[in-house]
Symmetry: D2
Subunit: 229 residues, 4 copies
């Protein structure tokens, strides 16, 4: 493992928890950041992670988060996971919710990447992973806000990959193309593995993190075997 | 010509002026909207257009614009043209400018489309065209803000195409893949036509507008013959 | 109209006939080529076209076709239209049919383009249009042969666009994303215009042909307003 | 490791050898197939692989290869690696070479996949990996034949992924976007890791092979950190 310390932004109970566990098992120190850290106590205890309260769409809070991390383990791996969606027919959408979707899904990713990269650049090493969705590459009907946010995040990831890969920073964007299994949402018995297992996704996050720089992936799609695409 | 009245948002001296002239010549009544209408006087006089001051990123102003249009010719064609870019290495970017880029390039497109579609839907006809750029499909190094804005606009356009085409509303997104010739920027003698002539672009906007609904295009890229891609 | 003479390869009764009529109406002399010219008599008489028998997958026949055209009007516009599909589960496909699909859908396009370009290059002007399909950009289940042929044709078109656009030759690839209406296949009354009208497609072929070289499109998708995509 | 036996088609000294070694180390029995098996002796001895002479573009030889494998370990993993390129200005290309490029790069992939899948389907498990290139997604100037072959292979892979993933067969297409380091071609000291290390590529082939079916990737691009894209 060529990295030492990972920050998971948008940490919660689903994919982010699986990624945190997988990275911890691989030997990384973990920091978990979320708007509310209440739900993180169990996970943090399990993997020995520190937790931080942070609204990733607020530059002051992001700067404060990284200032705290500077005092301990500066992350050489960052995963940006937050997203927010609102949906419905165009004419029924609330513009406030649309902006919120873009800010959480994409603008926060910019703020976090900017703070992280300012620490990584002097060392010319690091990795920043962005979690995308089907909506990152296809704008679905009645889902314009999520498409706007996720497309914007992909644009950010592409731009950063082109700027920062030659500086030694691995930028990767994951297109999670299907529903993720959770406590509330399980595949039917008739259709096993029809939802993405978050641990399975995390396994690929880890294998991409382990790629040598002579053969980096910058975009990886993942979908269940039975998913139509 | 199956339409009667076009609103050009983000009207100025370049592509938007050429589109306005082309649409006027084809018989459409033209309304021009821009943050400042001072520069529009000459164009408006030439083509008999009305002009409106409107900040497209402000819902109140967009609603006011459409309310004024409701009293006259409700547009059955809308072109959304504004964009704003700031560029530089990631760590030097001003987050305020990044949000401005997303708001002008994409969020304003949402507000304008929402207002326009609420008028078009009852009639089940209309056309909304979005002006994109190379950055709509490729995130360039040191240009994350523009990529975020233009990717988001493309996500919006795709989502609206899927929702609204079956309602009779033609949604099209134009990828302008190269520099546009202007008063300040002309191709060299050695390399004629190496910049996009805005009148040439407008010719294609017009031909797409004239497409029968049995064979609509939803994304059209345009580039000069000598452009590398 | 900046061109004088068009060759339509794979001429028949559907899209190719509509393109031939549209181009003839715009003032182009038309040559029609097909494996069998019997069905072309009516169309040829209508538009004053010459007809030629040619198997486009056979280099000798393609060379012979162009040699005959050299004696009359050398085409400065060529449309490559043929395709062949076979479908079914992978393990039931006949390899002979698979090769036939690739040869007709793509290899013939190479042969025709090569012969055409050798005449266009000295003049540094001309246009070559390739007719693609949904399968050009998406490989559907149980349709590998058609995907292979149409993907290969798109690869050819992209490569030629990059090589030949800067030589003044307009290369365009059309993605016809839906069923085309025909004598045997009409939209239902409940769902008008749900199939592409070949005359509507031809209208866009003509408008792309009329693009000035400062703003060329190289790929254009067309689909009916109600088509899911 | 959920698989037992891998067939590498187009085995040689570069990427295919690295994949063979990586898969062997992971516990798979390896079969190596190539037109000429002379060069394979050293590799085969190293990893305890069997070698087979086979022209993958010839159905009879492909059937014969699989018949031999039926008698031993039927492969539940197949990697299709062959490609052939010829390049130059369109009008100088030899059509015989163009067909050869398509046949080796794509048609052979169809034949091998067909034979392999007929064995995998009854078991509803297996994996078929196709090696693509930059030319799989971008048709470069003066490289039409390679674009045609590699685009066709990608069309095949997409079609098979949609048909066979729901049957339990993992289809993956790798876009190797850069030059591969070899005995004859090493990165300069000033620009380390600027060529893809075949062992690094193979590491990702192996991690994709290990993906659980609830989160499969179907297309993976790999490029060196410093590669422009």
């Amino acid at each position: 493992m060529m990295y030492t310390s990972a920050l998971i932004v948008g940490a919660g109970s689903g994919l982010s928890a699986s990624v945190a566990r997988a990275f911890a098992t691989a030997g990384l120190k973990i920091a978990l950041a979320a708007r509310s850290t209440e739900k993180l106590a169990g996970l943090a205890a399990d993997i020995g992670a520190r937790t931080f309260s942070c609204d990733a769409t607020n530059k002051t809070e992001v700067d404060s988060l990284f200032a705290k991390l500077d005092a301990g383990s500066v992350p050489d791996v960052v995963v940006y996971n937050p997203s927010y969606r609102t949906r419905g027919p165009l004419i029924e959408l609330d513009p406030v919710e649309v902006e919120k979707s873009i800010r959480i899904s994409a603008f926060g990713g910019f703020l976090v990447a900017q703070a992280a990269v300012s620490r990584m650049l002097p060392l010319r090493r690091g990795a920043i992973f962005f979690t995308g969705a089907s909506a990152s590459i296809k704008g679905y009907a009645q889902s314009a806000p999520f498409a706007m946010g996720k497309f914007a995040l992909r644009g950010l990831a592409q731009s950063l990959a082109r700027e920062l890969s030659p500086q030694g920073i691995h930028i990767a964007h994951f297109v999670i193309d299907g529903g993720i299994r959770s406590a509330n949402r399980a595949p039917s018995i008739d259709n096993p593995d029809s939802l993405l297992d978050p641990d399975a996704i995390a396994q690929t996050y880890l294998s991409i993190l382990n790629q040598p720089r002579s053969a980096w992936s910058s975009e990886i799609e993942l979908r269940p075997w039975v998913e139509k695409f």
